[in-house]
């Protein structure tokens, strides 16, 4: 009898994933890995110490409150009250999840369903599309377009066309997913840009799912603005944050959703029916770390700001190296990724697998011949837009000096070898 037990409809076509393809390849230690977004710098010592302290407390090895460990949600509410300038109830307005990834999943499962449309800005963090599809809804894409006719020097050059955006909204539109600072481009949406989005959300009575995991990583001259703080937006926005990105502890997999009770309560229902509670010791350690930084939020030594300064110099170094190798980096205003136009190198890859976009082929070639890895940008685009972005690849620069040194060697020698 043929095996009738196939996958459910909700996951049809969602099995492949750029990370599964590229993290395997980059696991080779001889390759300088600037691909996947994980820091190889150490988290701050007090963060590691808090976890060590917590490990010794017996009751912290058992279940805690499902929707978020009390001391953590309390700390989060204090930090974000300060940032948002509004009262945030730790028990009803916050949900702690397994990474921001888990928050995205809980939000989408709670609020999105078949018949809904969800607007996704391209390029996008790749999980948005499959998550929207798994919820039975239709992703509607709108690309960021380079306003300088393809000659982009900064992430600020990439903008949405307001008329094009307005056209994407209709009565079926349930939500728009916003990611600022933006992965992969590093764009930090300005107040004006957020206002355009907000106006449309209010006009069409849609939700805004605001992925702000890189909220602290903004560089000089830029300010991270929370769309939830714009008039009329708190009641329709779920804002998502990440411990992994805030404290350089991606392996702790803790994130949070913040919003009005009447939205968060549905995320809590999803959470109680998916994994129920997040690990206790990690939440307690994170809470303690937040208290340390909450107390110095007006001090430049606060990790939220010091990390940003550290990364800005890495960003600048990375950009310099890439330019010297003849590549065209797009300098990000925020985040820890940089996209690079590789078409200037004119590497001929026509003999490789036709079906893959140019950037996939380029990255594979670069890994094999230059021992340097990155992520192809078309992985972050809907089907229609892949052609627009296939000349770009994404580098991650939250890397220790020795990694960047190794990258420097490769980039300096780039032109000394041929194809």
């Amino acid at each position: 009898m043929p095996f009738r037990h196939k996958n459910t409809r909700r996951i049809e076509g969602l099995d492949s994933n750029v990370w599964v393809e590229f993290t395997k390849v980059a696991a080779d230690p001889s390759i300088v890995n600037l691909g996947q977004g994980l820091p190889d710098i150490s988290p701050p010592s007090y963060v590691k110490e808090e976890l060590a302290k917590v490990a010794a407390v017996d009751r912290l090895n058992q279940y805690t409150r499902g929707f978020g460990h009390p001391s953590l949600v309390k700390a989060l509410s204090q930090v974000y009250e300060k940032v948002c300038g509004r009262k945030i109830d730790p028990l009803t307005d916050i949900l702690v999840t397994v990474g921001a990834y888990g928050s995205l999943f809980s939000t989408i499962q709670a609020l999105i369903e078949e018949g809904d449309e969800v607007i996704i800005i391209e390029p996008f963090y790749d999980c948005y599309e499959p998550m929207v599809k798994m919820a039975g809804a239709k992703p509607v894409f709108i690309p960021l377009r380079c306003k300088k006719d393809g000659n982009s020097a900064s992430s600020a050059d990439w903008v949405l066309d307001p008329a094009e955006l307005a056209n994407k909204f209709n009565s079926k539109t349930k939500a728009i997913i916003l990611n600022t600072p933006h992965n992969p481009i590093g764009k930090v949406f300005t107040l004006e840009e957020l206002q355009v989005i907000a106006d449309l959300c209010i006009k069409h009575d849609t939700l805004c799912i605001s992925d702000e995991v890189y909220e602290w990583l903004v560089y000089k001259g830029n300010k991270h603005i929370k769309i939830a703080t714009l008039p009329g937006m708190w009641e329709r926005t779920v804002t998502i944050g990440s411990a992994g990105k805030t404290y350089s502890v991606t392996g702790w997999k803790l994130g949070w959703s913040i919003g009005p009770e009447y939205l968060i309560k549905h995320l809590q229902v999803v959470h109680q029916n998916t994994l129920y509670t997040c690990p206790t010791p990690l939440q307690e350690a994170l809470a303690q770390a937040f208290w340390v930084d909450y107390k110095r939020m007006d001090d430049p030594d606060c990790y939220f700001y010091s990390l940003s300064r550290e990364l800005e110099s890495k960003r600048d170094r990375m950009a310099q190296l890439l330019k010297e190798a003849g590549l065209k980096p797009v300098i990000p205003d925020g985040g820890y990724f940089m996209i690079v136009d590789v078409s200037t190198l004119n590497v001929d890859l026509s003999d490789l697998d036709e079906k893959q976009p140019y950037d996939y082929k380029f990255v594979k070639w670069m890994i094999a011949s230059k021992k340097l890895s990155a992520i192809p940008l078309s992985a972050f685009c809907g089907l229609e837009t892949k052609k627009q972005f296939e000349k770009y690849i994404r580098f991650c620069f939250i890397k220790k000096d020795s990694t960047l040194d190794a990258a420097e060697v490769i980039l300096k020698n780039w032109n000394k070898q041929t194809g």
Partner: protein, 455 residues
């Protein structure tokens, strides 16, 4: 086309639409259209939210929610400390999404031994955020709208809402008590499935059956014959088996935990779920796993990579070391898997005695760290309320925690809505507790009994 309403008009309209009872949010503006997805229908209630709150507020002795109040074993917390002190700060970063390599490798080694078959750590094992998320992946990956899933009552409460959230239809079949004729205390073994009744629940729409052995809340350890019955039906009807075996190491009286996946025809259609929380008395670490054939696990991987993607690295590292230790000590007296059930059996016996001594009739569990007791002799303390929606045992448990400070969970919490009133005289106690806790519980019960006899 909607016009942007001014704040006061908008607020007025939303006030009218908002539901009563939430004073804080009826003052807040909301979206004017219904927001939540239909998949949440009927799954918003959860007994734990209520009972955990009650225990936190009123209980002096908490035998309610299932977690140990004794520490996790030293070797486990030591493993975490070693990992933290080892200087490898990459343990604070993402690991392999489907499971930290050292953990999936040792799990594969362990389960190869237990199942008597070769296992590939990369395709036959996946790490999840607790067994809870493993269960979630099973239902999302394998249960579609219109599929029926057989659930044996009483059941760990999450199975029903998870089946519903996946669009499936739960089909319930009860374990029925057959009390021993000699008047002795019942054992969890006396609660049995009726084979004909079970067979009648299988239809062409049946996608899976959820098996939980050892069973929470009764503590039943399904026998080889009972598992054989279930296996036969699974094979006959080509149905999957989701086998929740989180309490696999907690079996008493020399009984054996038998894995249904090792029965004829079952490996290819079974997903086994396990838990580090229960295995190593560290429920707060939320590390679980699924083991099964690649052609089923591949779909669980798809769900996992689109829902949480990675599990916390450092907890997996420490659990891997815990398993390494157990692999070396397997079957030896120093093995935690030998010591823990020994200790818990003593606690079980102690609690059984305490309850029996005051007139509550415990059902002696063959496994898990739960036992269910018949509270009929104490019923008179809590007046029945005619035409009440709430099952009697639930009101009893609430009254008990508020008035006696002793927390337990009503058995009706583990039944479907339709069957909540079938067994209203039972409550569940967790005995994974320090001696002092169990003694304190006994003191409360003794005092209570004395109050009854003297009044």
């Amino acid at each position: 086309m909607l016009r942007r309403a001014g704040p006061s008009l908008r607020h007025f309209l939303l006030e009218r639409n908002s539901s009563a009872g939430h004073s804080s949010c009826s003052r807040e503006a909301k979206m004017s259209r219904p927001v939540q997805a239909r998949r949440l229908e009927g799954i918003d209630k959860n007994i734990w939210v209520e009972f955990v709150n009650l225990a936190a507020t009123y209980s002096k002795v908490n035998l309610g929610q299932g977690f140990p109040d004794f520490p996790a074993p030293d070797f486990l917390t030591e493993a975490l400390r070693r990992a933290l002190g080892g200087g490898n700060h990459m343990l604070h970063q993402y690991t392999r999404a489907f499971g930290h390599p050292p953990l999936v490798k040792v799990l594969a080694q362990f389960f190869e031994k237990l199942l008597g078959r070769d296992l590939d750590p990369m395709t036959n094992v996946m790490v999840t955020v607790g067994a809870y998320q493993g269960l979630f992946c099973c239902f999302q990956a394998l249960v579609d709208e219109g599929d029926e899933v057989i659930i044996i009552e009483p059941f760990f409460d999450c199975y029903e809402p998870m089946v519903k959230m996946a669009g499936g239809t739960p089909v319930f079949v009860p374990l029925r008590p057959n009390p021993p004729k000699d008047g002795k205390l019942m054992s969890s073994a006396d609660w049995q499935l009726d084979p004909a009744e079970l067979a009648s629940k299988f239809s062409e729409r049946t996608k899976a059956i959820v098996l939980n052995s050892p069973n929470n809340p009764l503590g039943k350890v399904f026998s080889r014959e009972e598992l054989g019955l279930i296996a036969e039906l699974c094979v006959k009807h080509d149905v999957l088996c989701i086998s929740d075996e989180v309490y696999e190491w907690l079996v008493y009286d020399g009984k054996q935990h038998i894995r249904i996946a090792s029965l004829q025809g079952m490996w290819d259609r079974t997903v086994i779920i396990g838990s580090a929380g229960k295995t190593f008395s560290a429920t707060g670490w939320k590390v679980g796993w699924v083991v099964g054939p690649d052609r089923l696990l591949q779909h669980l991987r798809t769900v996992h990579q689109n829902s949480v993607y990675h599990c916390a690295t450092i907890a997996q590292e420490a659990v891997a070391q815990g398993f390494q230790r157990e692999l070396m000590l397997y079957g030896k007296p120093e093995s935690y898997f030998v010591q823990l059930p020994k200790e818990l059996q003593q606690k079980r016996d102690w609690l059984v005695q305490s309850l029996d001594g005051v007139g509550m009739k415990p059902i002696i569990p063959e496994g898990t760290y739960f036992l269910v007791a018949d509270i009929s002799p104490f019923k008179s303390d809590v007046p029945d309320v005619p035409n009440s929606d709430e099952p009697y045992d639930s009101r009893f448990a609430k009254w008990m925690v508020k008035n006696k400070g002793l927390a337990a969970i009503p058995l009706s919490a583990f039944y479907s809505e339709a069957h909540k009133n079938n067994y209203t005289n039972f409550i569940r106690f967790c005995f994974a507790k320090e001696e002092a806790t169990l003694k304190a519980a006994s003191d409360i019960l003794q005092k209570w009994k004395q109050e009854k006899t003297s009044s």
